[in-house]
Amino acid sequence: MLYHLGFIIVSLLIIVIPLLISVAYFTLVERKFMGSMQRRRGPNVVGFMGLLQPLADGLKLFAKETILPSNANIVLFVLAPIITFVLSLMGWIVIPFGEGAVVSDINVGILYLFAISSLSVYGIITAGWSSNSKYPFLGALRSAAQMVSYEVSIGFIIVTVVICAGSFNLSTIVLAQSKIWFIIPLFPMFIMFFISALAETNRHPFDLPEAEAELVSGYNVEYSAMGFALFFLGEYANMLIMSGMTTILFLGGWLPLFDIMPLNLIPGPVWFSIKLSIFVIAFIWARAALPRYRYDQLMSLGWKAFLPLSLGWLLFTVACLISFNWLPE
């Protein structure tokens, strides 16, 4: 029993510590990449070519004073960043990084991920409510409405992938793509899933909740020091997990591009990381390239375009699979 517990804790730390490091360097990549797109250098002072910048940022946030606003609900105010951060870590347990390289290979893995990403709206709405200040309140309302709108179409897209794979287990979903990645037969679903992932993580061009020109910074205006840092880490870890979900559902997880000699010698986790990095770069690219949406455009895209289209494509896929007798066993 104790041995088992120790094994679990070690395997969880093997996930959590690299995750936190990659989140830190995600922020550096973002700043460097956006700097290059805007023809600047990005951070290049701290360490060699700015490589120690994320550590310096983290240390600065750690040393700052924690402000607990006098008219806020202190318990909820402290709880909100904890909820966000904990939920962003929880999803990584079921992600398969390679063949068998997963902490708990539960049967309902995709449902678990869906549930965890749905729960993350609670952290944001708790922050906005407990701050008792106008900007966080409006930001949290917008954020909650936006996240639930896009969750509906994400649900339909997941259903479509599950019916092609025949299982909720993430490893089985990946192995079902060994002949052809789902991005090819389900290309429109892939595009919708990625755009919904942008909206779900409140990223550009859908970052209405923290539109800095009108709402200063959205739901985390009142947060400082480590409370803000936990929100920040949680958001970026959520972005990574949405990239990971896209990789698993549509890009064949750890599977190599073609199952031929030089390509299948590269280990599975490396393939997984390469594919995940593509989506991370796409997240940053969207931020650097696209202007912000208006809120009514955002809602009409979610409800009037993605919801009917994903529902229709789901029925189309089911009909194709049944009529050609292609259903997985």
């Binding site: 088992h4 004073e65 200040s133 909720f168």
Partner: protein
């Protein structure tokens, strides 16, 4: 059942405890180790240059409620689809047509919500 928990779900329990501990530790350590000098100006709610004179939690747009209600309907619909898709090989074509009927009825509801303008944001 015990082995299922032991093999698959115990990491989730341990992870939730570990993650809560980790976040409480870094929040608490930052709070205790950095210098805290609160004063009324720092602790008042952020507002553009003047003191907040009313509670921030006043009325907000009713459309947020409408979106929440619509979300409940359509997310439940997605939840009904989940058990259906994994059992579709075991149920006959009857199972397919029952679900198609269900989706048609929901689409009628969706069209109604669209027509009365519940999805409009001007």
């Amino acid at each position: 059942m015990q082995t299922l928990f032991y093999e698959e779900y115990s990491p989730i329990l341990v992870m939730s405890i570990l993650a809560v501990l980790l976040s409480v530790i870094i929040l608490g350590a930052s709070f205790l180790l950095s210098i805290q000098k609160p004063d009324t100006e720092k602790l008042s709610a952020y507002e553009c240059g003047f003191d907040p004179y009313e509670d921030a939690r006043n009325a907000f747009d009713v459309r947020f409620y409408i979106v929440a209600i619509l979300f409940i309907i359509f997310d439940l619909e997605a939840m009904f689809l989940f058990p259906w898709v994994v059992s579709i090989t075991h149920i006959s074509s009857m199972g397919l047509w029952v679900m198609v009927d269900f989706l048609i009825e929901l689409s009628i509801g969706f069209v109604y919500a669209w027509k009365i303008g519940a999805l409009e944001w001007e």
